[in-house]
Symmetry: C2
Subunit: 337 residues, 2 copies
DNA sequence: GAGGGTTGTCGAAGCGCTTCGACACCTTTC
DNA sequence: GAAAGGTGTCGAAGCGCTTCGACAACCCTC
């Protein structure tokens, strides 16, 4: 294993000089720098991460806490995780992957041991038990998601309230008066993961303003659950012509069931989805949708965090503006009876 | 920040004694141990990861390299990643998340800097450019997947060859003579990710033995691609009654299209999928399938790696035996004309 | 009761790096 | 031409931990 001292000797300079070449924290003459860099290359030197962390009390690692559940909105999580990892690397950071399993203990462990310089938390619940710990430490952190109380916290999320409003507006503009919302699984609402509720708020508020009738039904993913839900919807509101879906794994079942019932999309029924682009474009009908900008959220979170680590930046809540893309699943409401 | 020295002072012992209490590498009297543990708790001591890594040249971190692509078999990847993370924690290791993006450089960086003690690589190609590096280092590693040449490597994977054979056998037993294989996207075959080709080998070999006719068509995910593929299949082999699908995002489109064409599953056509359990049970028809045991693979990989790190264990290839679960998508072949 | 093992604890030497202050040298500036 | 101010380099201290050898103190055994 090659050490800094060996590089220094090889280049005929002192260890500290090599260190300064590496960090750029003091000016170094061009000739010396080149000599040192040449030695580094020739010897195949890699700074030792542990020693670095010890001496500088900076690990250059960001901890990313992802939910343990693998049953919900997986592709979104994965996309965020990968965006975070990729983006972190461009800033010189590596990602430590923590699962939600350990809960608050993971936060304690990481901040206490100096394993990571900062944290990104995903799948934040409205009243998350990790939040007090984050507020009580001076280690920077960013949440992806929005808890009930954001004081002293930095958050990044899609503006789900606006998302809900946008969906309703789009359907209203097309003349739909009865709208059904196929929501996430009941468990999601029970855990009070804010995004589902905020979407619903947005939907309801705008529906009230526009004087539309709105029916909300949570729905487990899958075909059977969707069939049951759909039956209930048409039972209670036979005139429903607009659907808003916020559950990736209910999208395709819904389309299949509508087709099976002889309801054409978009002639008889319009569908708007809140989902990743890929789901929208790969579905059996190209879906009018509001995209969940997973990558952008990941990148944004890293940016905020790096800013904090550099002493810039401060606590703030960033809500990304939703964008609705019209595709083939929505159209004018059918003429009334 | 509390240090080991402070704990030692508080407990009235030397620093080394505290260290030995923590590591258990020397025997400590019960009374001393208890005193030290009490001090640790009272002071809220957490060992500093950097210092530990420096002194012991062990970081207690395992690097996990996942593919950058977010377009293929994402849920499987995610499930493996989470299983790896969870399982690693039970052995006292944390996970460093690397994306495939950096390629071989990531391997160099991690082994060179001592950032991690070992690596797990996913999405290994048949002739992966990272392999020479792994062979050339004494840092333990485990591959999830199977390259062409496994000498000097440890690998964990599903036995995809047996998986293919199993699918064909099942359909043959039900009397199907013409079988179509809906494969992964062409890109997967082009990258020579072994699993798709091994499945195909297994399918073909057994089909030959059982004197079945087999048609293989790669297929991008999504509805449109599937529609085109399906048209070609029935065009070339109108008597096809059995389908084997190895592309999660083609499963639901296939079912929808068959339904649309008036072909009943399983009365007219049988479908066998190679996919995670969740996909099989949530599809519009409960699918007869061979599960991809993502969690088990992740756990296994960690176990192997920990064994190596402890000086036990050696290079070997573990192929998990596939299991076919019969559900509602396969049945006897329809009587001939 | 002297020799030989255990057992439990300690001191000290690093692990490889960062960083601070010092200092020699070279420009400016008036 | 002396004071003031840069620049570029070095030496040394130390980050918090592990681990090795040393060594008391104790228990056997013949």
């Amino acid at each position: 294993m090659v050490t800094l001292a060996e590089v220094a000797q090889h280049a005929g300079v002192s260890a500290s000089t090599v260190s300064y070449v590496l960090s750029g924290k003091r000016s170094i003459s061009t000739s010396t720098r080149q000599r040192v860099e040449e030695s580094i290359r020739r010897l195949g030197y890699h700074p030792n991460a542990g020693a670095r962390a010890l001496a500088s009390s900076r690990s250059n690692i960001i901890a990313l806490m992802i939910p343990l559940r693998t049953d919900m909105y997986v592709p979104v999580m994965m996309e965020i995780a990968i965006a975070v990892a990729t983006s972190a690397r461009t800033h010189g950071y590596d990602i430590l992957l923590l699962t939600g399993e350990e809960g608050p203990d993971a936060v304690r462990r990481v901040t206490g041991s100096g394993l990571a310089d900062a944290m990104i938390l995903m799948d934040v619940e409205l009243d998350d038990e990790r939040l007090p710990l984050l507020r009580g430490t001076d280690q920077p952190s960013v949440l992806i998601g929005l808890p009930a109380d954001t004081t002293g916290l930095t958050c990044v999320d899609l503006d789900f309230r606006a998302t809900g409003a946008l969906c309703v507006e789009h359907l209203a503009k097309l003349g739909h008066r009865d709208i059904a919302v196929i929501g996430e699984a009941p468990a999601v609402y029970e855990r009070h993961t804010g995004f589902a509720e905020r979407t619903l708020d947005g939907l309801r508020a705008r529906a009230r303003e526009l004087e539309l009738r709105l029916l909300h039904r949570p729905c487990e993913g899958g075909y059977d659950a969707m069939a049951a839900t759909l039956a209930r919807v048409f039972d209670e509101r036979p005139d429903t012509t607009g659907f808003v879906v916020q559950n990736e794994s209910a999208v395709e079942p819904l389309l299949a069931l509508l087709r099976q019932q002889g309801r054409a999309v978009p002639e008889d029924v319009s569908v708007v989805a809140v989902c990743p682009e890929q789901v929208a474009t790969q579905a059996s009908v190209r879906l009018t949708s509001v995209a969940v900008p997973a990558q952008e959220m990941g990148r944004h979170a890293v940016q905020q965090l790096v800013a904090k680590l550099d002493g810039r930046g401060s606590d703030e809540v960033v809500l990304l503006a939703p964008e609705l893309t019209v595709r083939a699943s929505s159209g004018p409401a059918p003429a009334g009876p």
